[in-house]
């Protein structure tokens, strides 16, 4: 449907990924009019490119960003601190569909880990039992494997290596992961044919993405106005301090204003924080929802990286669903390991053109080429561990660099905590030990790649001084402004974030509907 730009009865959602796309469906199916602004273009199963470099260009957010700090990404990938998407469906188009839950102790980070110097830990303002009930809803919606009677993913070659190695070193909780990928036809979508092209956009649609599930269903309600190639540049407020409209550039670069009853921001943590900061005004001189100075702070990205093992015999790890494997034994808090928090070891592979660009330590020459020569005999794991929130790990507006519309770009600053370094070493050592236990010729540890998990830059907090929103993602300062993506996480845990983003969006959709019905907002 077309919603008039002066219609102030609509909910405006910015971003169409896991959070925004899901929320748009939840609100429209309950009868609420939604304008969904998406900065990127709309692809389809047919238009997804199967040329890795081309697919990267088709889906990735490539607008400039700057960065600083002691994390390796600042030096190794100076123009690309994070790897997120600019396309309808957001990062649910390129994600690899692993959907573990947070553990109960992870959402009580401050209580579990205690006072850790140099961090800004808080507990989530949500009871785990409540979150769990939304996990169950989200898992049904996404068709997560190994839950609700959905079969697990079959074991790929790469997983056979991971499994044998994990069992050899004594790990117990090893399986083909919880995956939002169909293992049999369901939800009007087919099953996985093990292409190994998850990150280029799943051409069978077996992998859940809002692009071909939540968004078309929201459109079918007749209540959705999806506007593509529309980049939000500012959120306006009225004299009462409540948000009233969103300013954006349309596909022709023309500035537009859409009035709103409620605004929900779901632009992935970097752009969500940036938009709030860009929306400063006389009344809110430091940006919207920022009276406590918390917008953009506590940025978390997970301690991540690859560990590769090469073997005497072929693995052909590019065949098969990319992330269909996990070891959960290290997803525990055991400070005697030398750090707090836990990590997941997950299966991973990279296509041939991508491996040397992001998957290996910086290098060239004979040694580098020797690693590449073993490409067909290579197995891979991804480490995904909890990083600890720090007030000064934050998103700010770059003082010099501006985007095509003259708005300052986001600057990402990350200084690693000693806990982060200790966790990374332990995780890489564990993965290395696994591969060595079954006779790997060589183990290679990668650099830290650009962050795909971006969280906590507008976090939920019980105390308004500690964060940006309440337990519903509703801004402490402005009751008709919501944060609807991973920015609202109070801490990052060690779980791949999408399932939790969806669970929170389902919960927030209910809350917004109730509040609207009660005329509270």
């Amino acid at each position: 449907m077309r919603i008039d730009s002066n219609d102030d009865g609509a909910v405006v959602i910015i971003g169409s990924g896991a959070g925004g796309g899901t929320l748009a469906h939840e609100l429209t199916r309950r009868g609420t009019k939604v304008v969904l602004l998406e900065a990127g273009q709309r692809q389809s199963l047919a238009s997804f490119s199967q040329v890795p470099g081309e697919a990267f260009g088709q889906l990735t957010w490539l607008d400039p960003r700057t960065q600083s700090g002691t994390w390796g990404v600042a030096k190794d990938f100076p123009g690309l601190p994070v790897w997120t998407c600019k396309t309808v469906g957001g990062t649910t188009v390129h994600w690899t569909a692993a959907t573990p839950r947070f553990r109960p102790w992870e959402i009580r980070a401050r209580t579990t880990y205690g006072s850790v110097a140099g961090t800004s830990l808080i507990d989530w303002p949500i009871a785990y039992e409540e979150l769990k009930s939304y996990y169950q809803l989200a898992e049904r919606r996404l068709g997560v494997t190994r839950r609700n009677g959905n079969p697990g993913m079959p074991a790929s070659n790469n997983f056979k290596v991971m499994y044998a190695a994990a069992k050899k070193v004594g790990y117990k909780r090893v399986h083909t992961n919880y995956m939002a990928i169909n293992t049999r036809p369901r939800d009007e979508r087919g099953f996985c044919i093990q292409q190994g092209f998850c990150a280029q956009g799943c051409k069978t649609g077996a992998k859940w993405s809002t692009l071909y599930t939540e968004i078309p269903r929201a459109e079918a309600t007749g209540k959705l106005d999806l506007r593509i190639q529309c980049m939000a540049t500012r959120i306006e407020h009225g004299a009462d301090g409540r948000v009233s409209a969103v300013i954006y550039r349309d596909s022709k670069g023309v500035e537009q204003r859409q009035k709103a009853r409620i605004v929900c921001v779901a632009g992935n943590s970097i752009e969500t924080a940036r938009l709030l900061l860009l929306s400063e005004s006389a009344r809110f001189p430091h940006g919207l929802a920022n009276s406590a100075g918390q917008v953009g702070r506590n940025y978390c990205h997970h301690i991540s990286g690859f560990v590769w093992g090469t073997f005497e015999q072929p693995v052909k790890f590019w065949r098969g669903a990319v992330l269909a494997g996990t070891v959960e034994d290290e997803t525990v808090n055991e400070p005697k390991r030398g750090f707090v928090g836990g990590y997941h070891l997950e299966l991973i592979s990279l296509d041939l053109p991508t491996l040397p660009l992001v998957g290996l330590p910086y290098g060239w020459g004979r040694d580098f080429a020797a690693i590449m020569e073993d490409y067909r005999n290579m197995a891979g794991m991804f480490i995904c561990g909890e990083d600890l929130g720090r007030a000064d790990n934050r998103i700010t507006l770059d003082p010099k660099i501006k985007d095509a519309y003259g708005s300052p770009v986001a600057h990402v600053h990350v200084d690693e905590h000693d806990n982060d370094k200790a966790l990374r070493k332990h995780a890489q050592d564990s993965a290395a030990k696994m591969y060595q236990s079954i006779g790997a010729k060589r183990v290679i540890r990668s650099l830290t790649p650009p962050a795909t998990h971006n969280m906590c830059t507008a976090r939920m907090s019980a105390n308004p001084g500690d964060g940006v929103t309440n337990a519903w993602g509703q801004a402490h300062d402005i009751n008709n402004l919501f944060i609807s993506d991973g920015s609202a996480f109070s801490s990052p845990g060690s779980a791949n974030p999408t399932l939790t983003i969806v669970a929170l969006a389902l919960r927030q959709g209910e809350y917004i509907s109730r509040q609207m019905a009660a005329k509270a907002i």
Binding site: P154, S156, H175, V315, G320, R366, M372
Partner: protein, 166 residues
């Protein structure tokens, strides 16, 4: 112009008009092209990967240079610093020459362009055994995603049935 011969069995041989290849350079000189080809081979030395693959790196940089004067300048200066004899020098000497400029913006661009282009060529796919795009062939579900036999099979409880297998 750079010239060479496709290796027997090259993935390009089936549709190339002849085994000889020639690269008409637009922005770079033949000397620069030869230096660049040798530099790409030094950065990613795969002895059995044919010159035609490395020539595609030269082709890409030449096209970038034709489009963007700053790229052309960076490569002309950088390749010039490697010296007129770089392409004819032994590998050790080429490694030393590149190591000497390793921290320069030129080298960073050269390395990135080399890796980006080289490993995306059909010759590299064939050389490394990488099968690439699989959708048009029905994925790997029935074509070996689980054909590894040198390790034990995974119990069903920790994995799941392959569709169509049971």
């Amino acid at each position: 112009m750079l010239t060479g011969l496709l290796a027997a069995g090259s993935p390009l041989a089936s549709f190339a008009p002849s085994r000889a290849w020639a690269l008409d350079l637009i922005a770079l000189t033949t000397q620069e092209g030869a230096t660049l080809l040798a530099a790409a081979r030094t950065i990613a030395p795969h002895d059995k990967l044919e010159d035609a693959a490395y020539a595609l790196v030269v082709h890409s940089v030449d096209a970038l240079s034709a489009k963007d004067a700053s790229v052309r300048k960076q490569y002309q200066e950088g390749l010039g610093r490697l010296g007129a004899n770089f392409a004819l020098a032994g590998e050790q000497a080429r490694v030393e020459a590149l190591t000497a400029v390793e921290s320069s913006a030129f080298f960073q661009a050269l390395r990135t362009n080399t890796l980006q282009v080289l490993y995306a060529t059909p010759m590299a796919y064939a050389h490394f055994g990488y099968e690439g795009e699989a959708f048009s062939k029905g994925g790997y579900l029935l074509r070996g995603f689980n054909d590894l036999r040198w390790l034990p099979e995974v119990p069903q409880a920790d994995s799941g049935p392959a569709p169509g297998s049971a």
